[in-house]
Amino acid sequence: MSDTKEISSSNPLKRRKKFKVSDYTALFAIVVLLIVFSVLRPENFPTRTNMVTILRSISVTTVLASGLTFTMSIGGLDLSAGNMASMSGYFCASFILWYGMNQYLAIGLTIILTMMLTLITMFLIIKCHIPELLATCAMMFFLEGLGLTYAGGSAISQGLPRPSGKPAEGVFSNSFKAMGTSPTIIIIMIIVVIFAYVALNHTKYGRYIYAVGGNKTAAKLSGINIERYRLYTGMVAAAIIALAGVLVVARNTSAQVSGAASYQMPAMSAVFIGQSVLGVRKPNPFGTLVGATLVGILDNGLVMLSVPYYALNMIKGAVLGIALIAAYANTKTD
């Protein structure tokens, strides 16, 4: 029993935890990128306006990635999140522009419709037992087509007539457009991250989600209804994804063709990078924010260096790869 006494000594976690390079790689990479870009573009990069630009640009990624964080925490995967967000964008834009709906009502309705669409995904995963990767891959294509069909094959923006040829009378109000600009969009991002953090780390529901993500059988035998929690988690993710879609519309002041789909991969990268942050080793909202920041800075800096567009993704991929190597190379696989 002498060994159990050790436990009560003060703050054993801090005492025990060794400094691990991999836990800080993502944060370190952010600092390095900030320095490198500042040195290379001293007059443009390290300015206040540019920092705000970066924050604004990572907002959408972070919000979408927060939705994915929920999904991935319970052991899921979602390839369709980007297209789902685009779909939400079409909904929201059309409600406001085509039907002149009150914007708050439009946003609420968008969230509800997105959740209803997500029920299809959940049906495929939970009832048909299709692996998440495959089910959401199918949804990805389906939603892309569905969105375009709904919008009549083009963007939905102010002044553009409806697919039926009838004029669209609605306009985006200033307060709606403000949602896509700083500081509102940044505040929304922060609220979403805090919400996700509290939900996953400080409520019992979060525990259940991580328990299911950690070991389905053990979770089930603990009396957790894993199907129900998969559904709940999917619904929470859907609401956040819908919000991301609305933010994209507010930023562009239109619902572009597949406007949010391009955020899918950056958001997923953000969650993956986030898993290594501070040694948490599972999807977590704070890590996701760090991951999204890393991706966002990289994007912004590379554009500023006027890297030709065709080489942009190559360099982004390479830098991300290196960051991930550093984060995962010396973690044990078991």
Binding site: M1, D3, T4, E6, I7, S8, P12, L13, R15, R16, K17, K18, V198, H202, T203, K204, Y205, R207, Y208, Y210, A211, G214, N215, T217, A218, A219, K220, L221, S222, G223, I224, N225, R228, R281, K282, D334
Partner: protein, 502 residues
């Protein structure tokens, strides 16, 4: 051949798992290694098997210094191991044949590219029949019960010719008869091949039966080496192991058994593993389910708990029929199940000890809105760590880093903390040392004396005899016989467990 270890140390963050250990074994002997949970037995074995490359110290074979930093090096030196954590060593989605022949597939095929399936299966079958086993080699490993998985692992290890065979708690999931088969095989192996077997077990009885010499470990050190002579008593071994006085006889505290609270009628499952089981439990009663491995005991537990589908039958508690279709219903109705396979079903190995212990009682440890109360959680976790003597440097340690027996204690603690009304313990003391077993028995008795119903499932007749009030013996999915524990004995239970009838 002689395998010698000098001044061996192994350290993990916050834990000195081995401290300056000197150890030697020679071919031709069967060596027992015993010690309390977390004493460092598995760590020592893993060093010898090349799975703990971070050791310091020297290893010699026949006086020649060697390095064992990878499993491949160990294999080259003729060291084979059967790990304690069965499921980490098998590939669940591959067939039995592929798992047994894994070494051959990986390094035995040399230049060949095409797998000769008939030959592979034939050889796998032969390895199994050497152990006196009859398992279909085409079955996927994840469909086997734990005991058979264990046998597959042993079959794999003895297929290779080796000089040193390390068996880390191979008998933990086995019942008496399978253990005997294993021992016969070990004896045959010793006669034919003159190898050295290092054998770890918490069942000291079987150690005195098969081993010739004994090494006792305590807190990362070797505290005793001695030949096993008839004079060595189990009591002595336990006392060296624990480093304190130990009373061998477990006190069966007399507690009142009240009116019938829990009743099961005609329960069957859809998988055809449980047939028409009926039994009842009184208030404060500990009811045993005895039977051999594969008798359907674990299946019955899962069925009661709503984890598998029922095809017929009713469950009553307080005279009312309970609707249990899934595990959530079971928990809501105050059931708890300590499942058999801890790593797969019981604990979340990548979460902390605290996370695991509180995971079945979060409702009680959070506010109405569902917010967690960290202080409360911490208090509960520390309480059960203390109560069960879980050996861990901190409650924030990952369960994956605990020793096997301590992981099991966490699985038990999790359900004790849940404070249920009906407890189902499926082999709860598997891999738990003698000292801690006493504490768990005491806790179970305490639960019973609070008026709860306890179902205690075990393939160890001795345990059934010492803790239960009444026992049902299962045989091939049916209840063969109901016995009052105080009026029965090992022979009678075994008789019914092997299919005997009145």
């Amino acid at each position: 051949m002689k395998l010698e270890v000098k001044n061996l140390s192994m350290e993990f963050p916050g834990v000195k798992a081995l401290q300056n250990v000197d150890f030697e074994v020679e071919t031709g002997e069967i060596r027992a290694v015993v010690g309390a949970n977390g004493a460092g037995k598995s760590t020592l074995m893993k060093v010898l098997a090349g799975a703990n490359p971070g050791y310091t110290g020297e290893i010699f074979i026949d006086g020649k210094p060697v390095e064992i930093r990878t499993p491949a090096q160990a294999k080259e030196l003729g060291i084979e191991i059967v790990y304690q954590e069965v499921d980490t060593a098998l590939i669940p989605t591959l067939s039995v044949a592929e798992n047994i022949m894994m070494n051959y597939l990986i390094s035995g095929m040399e230049k060949k590219v095409i797998v000769d399936w008939p030959k592979l299966k034939q050889e796998a079958r032969e390895s199994l029949s050497r152990l006196g086993l009859d398992i279909d080699v085409d079955t996927r490993v994840n469909q086997l019960p734990l005991a058979q998985k264990q046998m597959v692992l042993i079959a794999r290890a003895v297929r290779e010719h080796c000089n040193f065979l390390l068996l880390d708690e191979p008998t933990a999931p086995l019942s008496l008869s399978e253990t005997q088969t294993l021992f016969e095989m070990i004896r045959r192996l010793m006669e034919n091949e003159q190898i050295c077997i290092i054998f770890i077990s918490h069942r000291l009885q079987e150690i005195t039966e098969i081993c010739e010499t004994l090494t006792v470990m305590r807190n990362g050190k070797i505290v005793d080496n001695r030949p096993i002579t008839p004079e060595v008593t189990i009591q002595q071994i336990v006392e060296t192991m624990l480093g304190r006085k130990y009373d061998d006889v477990f006190e069966h505290a007399d507690h009142e058994v009240g009116e019938e609270l829990f009743r099961v009628e005609d329960l069957s499952d859809t998988e055809n593993k449980v047939h028409n089981v009926s039994f009842h439990i009184g208030k404060g009663e500990i009811v045993g389910i005895a039977g051999l491995v594969g008798a359907g005991k674990s299946e019955l537990c899962k069925l009661l708990f709503g984890a598998t589908k029922r095809s017929s039958g009713k469950i009553f508690y307080h005279g009312q029929e309970l609707k249990i279709v899934n595990t959530t219903d079971a928990v809501k109705n105050g059931f708890s199940l300590v499942p058999e396979e801890r790593r797969k079903e019981g604990v979340l190995v990548n979460e902390t000890v605290e996370f695991n212990i509180v995971s079945a009682c979060l409702g009680r440890l959070s506010t109405k809105l569902g917010f967690l109360r960290p202080k409360e959680q911490n208090r509960v976790a520390l309480k059960y760590i203390e109560l069960l003597g879980v050996k861990t440097p901190s409650e924030k340690q990952l369960v994956a880093n605990l020793s096997g027996g301590n992981q099991q204690k966490v699985a038990v603690a999790k359900w004790l903390a849940a404070e249920s009304d009906v407890y189902i313990f499926d082999e709860p003391t598997k891999g738990i040392d003698v000292g801690a077993k006493g504490e768990i028995f005491a806790l179970i008795q305490k639960i019973a004396s609070e008026g709860k119903c306890v179902i205690y499932v075990s393939c160890e007749t001795q345990e059934i005899l010492s803790i239960t009030d009444r026992t049902y013996v299962m045989y091939s999915g049916r209840i063969q016989k109901e016995l009052v524990t105080s009026r029965t004995n090992e022979e009678e239970i075994t008789y019914y467990a092997t299919g005997g009838t009145d």
